[in-house]
Symmetry: C2
Subunit: 355 residues, 2 copies
DNA sequence: CTGAAAGCGCTTACAG
DNA sequence: CTGAAAGCGCTTACAG
């Protein structure tokens, strides 16, 4: 059923049918009513999107592009909160949301009027395709593209605060637990680490080391473990490896709350008390962090706000406004119950956040 | 830049360009290479989706339709896990995911090849629009539409198990905390309750009462509270009202884990011990439930599986396969630490789940 | 207040 | 292995 059918049925032109939907002021109310009734009777659900998009050249759709399979992107609490923020702004602007995996850059580049590229590796082909097509876009978190619209957090500074907190508590034997990016990046190797195509991981690593070094802990003696994949199982494997390691760490700097949960769980299983025998910090301040036992000391980011900001930047680009300058959100330490002085006794104690 | 431009540049027909993308076997490798190179040089990112969709009459897109603003849909952990399952199957089948709010039924009905209608009120206009358009669809959770493809949980039975558990522990003064559906549904009023347009709420209510009645507790004496809205603030307001209520309940049956969290938090604030002075059950078994202090006794559903199943049913419809029979997933009680005998002493104790 | 005509970008059955 | 032509469903500047 198309506009033509409705028009034929009523003995009017297709244009009148189109106007009934798009410019109600261009025809009499009575005629409009008749059009709408006929449409309902014939089972016509309004203008076809494909036809309309083709004609109008826009789709009122914001694409959000991920590096990972969509399933991970949606399940991760931080990513979900981000998407919630995007959805709020997109909804208000009457735009749909199209979720895309990076795997097919052409598809990604075609189904939406503009793209929010969410935390993707340096050199990801979507970005090249987006640039080629001159499609409006906003990069979130990574990669860093000179002069591109960008929303991210101050990862380095947040990481620094977390590590400084541990050092102040008196920790000397510290391990780092980094994201699993799917590929087995041998982060233990300093050379490969420098070539890591994920800016967020690089910056958090740098922040941790800044503070460790400042506190008199040689970063060379701080092992960097990595989850072998993006899921919970992979995190558990890495957490267990840390607990078994020769270093015998008294504290773990985990690059996400999910990784921190894995460390806490592995510790519980191994009979290691957190924070009595092992301190753990996370990153993100996902809602579950404040409910977990013990509550996780972590670095808070406002994911919802990040999402809103990203959507607003993109919408502004879509309206043809000039690119805004990169937005850098705060990331700050929230001290809770998963950190304490090391077993031997530490330095000074800090007050806990009162919720 | 269109196929025509590429064709003109190369002195071939548009068809050859199209074939280069869609039927590589229809032209020589050398020619195909030249086409692709020219496309890259001219900044052409492959066939336009609008043109392609219009011509082909399909969009390789699954729409997921929500009752609530998209932002809530994405932030809710149960809904997010569901969407994760949908995304996994859609991704494997190379379909995009379009997130839609019910507000604009026509848009909802147009941007996708088929719709997953997620937990929507009886009589929601999207469903009528979908039916009118003969668009393939699957209903999840609610509403119940005779003969429609359906995926849901056995809500009534799950609710029954939760209430039976409380009764067995010895609780007599029980309150129910129901979803906030946005509209102020005065659930306290039995007449209005019967007219509630949400089947899931109706069934869980019925399940609670089945078990309460069987255990000798008159459902007429069990107040039904309702969150005034879908967000965390609304849940808190309702939880506080329960704690202040004349009944002085020793147990609360909350219809979701998020609602249960609100009760636990409100209790903590009021200095009421959970489970010592107040037992609380949730529904869903969201990941945070097992991490919360105390861990929440709840009714587990497999949201991921629900999502996968819904997507598979829809994809099958899209392939023209005959409608499958409705799928009803199990919902079963998981006893954790938020329930115990009432203060006065209860009946027999149950073993806790060992994780 | 209403209509005839052109064209958005693409693909496919058909012919060579 | 390649091409000419038709048409998918829609909307808009223009004319009446």
């Amino acid at each position: 059923v198309t506009v033509k059918d409705i028009a034929a049925e009523l003995g009017v032109s297709p244009m009148t049918v189109s106007n009934a939907y798009n410019r109600p002021d261009q025809l009499s109310d009575a005629l409009r009513q008749r059009v709408l009734e006929t449409a309902a009777r014939l089972g016509y659900a309004g203008p076809s999107r494909a036809g309309r998009d083709l004609r109008l050249g826009g789709q009122r759709t914001i694409g959000v592009v991920y590096d990972t399979p969509l399933a991970y992107a949606v399940r991760d609490a931080a990513a979900a909160a981000f998407l919630g923020g995007v959805a709020a702004v997109a909804g208000k602007a009457e735009h749909h949301l199209l979720l895309l995996a990076t795997a097919d850059p052409v598809a990604a580049t075609r189904g939406a009027d503009g793209l929010i590229v969410y935390s993707v590796a340096d050199g990801d082909p979507v970005l090249a395709a987006t640039l080629d097509r001159r499609l409006p876009f906003v990069v979130v978190d990574q990669p860093r593209v000179p002069d591109a619209p960008f929303v991210g957090a101050n990862d380095r500074r947040g990481a620094r605060e977390a590590a400084a907190h541990l050092v102040e508590l008196g920790h000397r034997r510290v391990a780092i637990l980094a994201f699993g990016h799917g590929d087995p990046w041998p982060l233990a190797d300093a050379e490969r680490r420098a070539a890591l195509p994920y800016a967020v991981t690089r910056e958090r690593l740098a922040g941790y080391k800044d503070a460790l070094r400042a506190g008199g802990v040689d970063p060379a003696n701080v092992p960097v473990h990595e989850a072998p994949g993006p899921d919970a199982d992979a995190a558990r494997v890495a957490a267990e490896a840390i607990l078994r390691s020769d270093l015998g760490p008294t504290a773990v700097l985990a690059m996400s709350d999910d990784l921190a949960f894995a460390v806490v769980d592995a510790a519980a299983l191994a009979g290691v008390d957190v924070p009595g025998e092992l301190s753990v910090t996370g990153f993100d301040d996902v809602p579950a962090s404040a409910r977990t036992r013990p509550e996780i000391t972590t670095v808070r980011q406002d994911h919802d706000r990040k999402g809103r900001l990203a959507a607003e930047l993109l919408l502004a680009r879509l309206r043809g406004e000039p690119p805004m300058s990169p937005q850098r959100l705060r990331a700050r330490l929230v001290v809770r119950a998963s950190t304490a002085p090391p077993p031997g006794g530490g330095a000074r104690t800090l007050e806990r956040e009162d919720r």
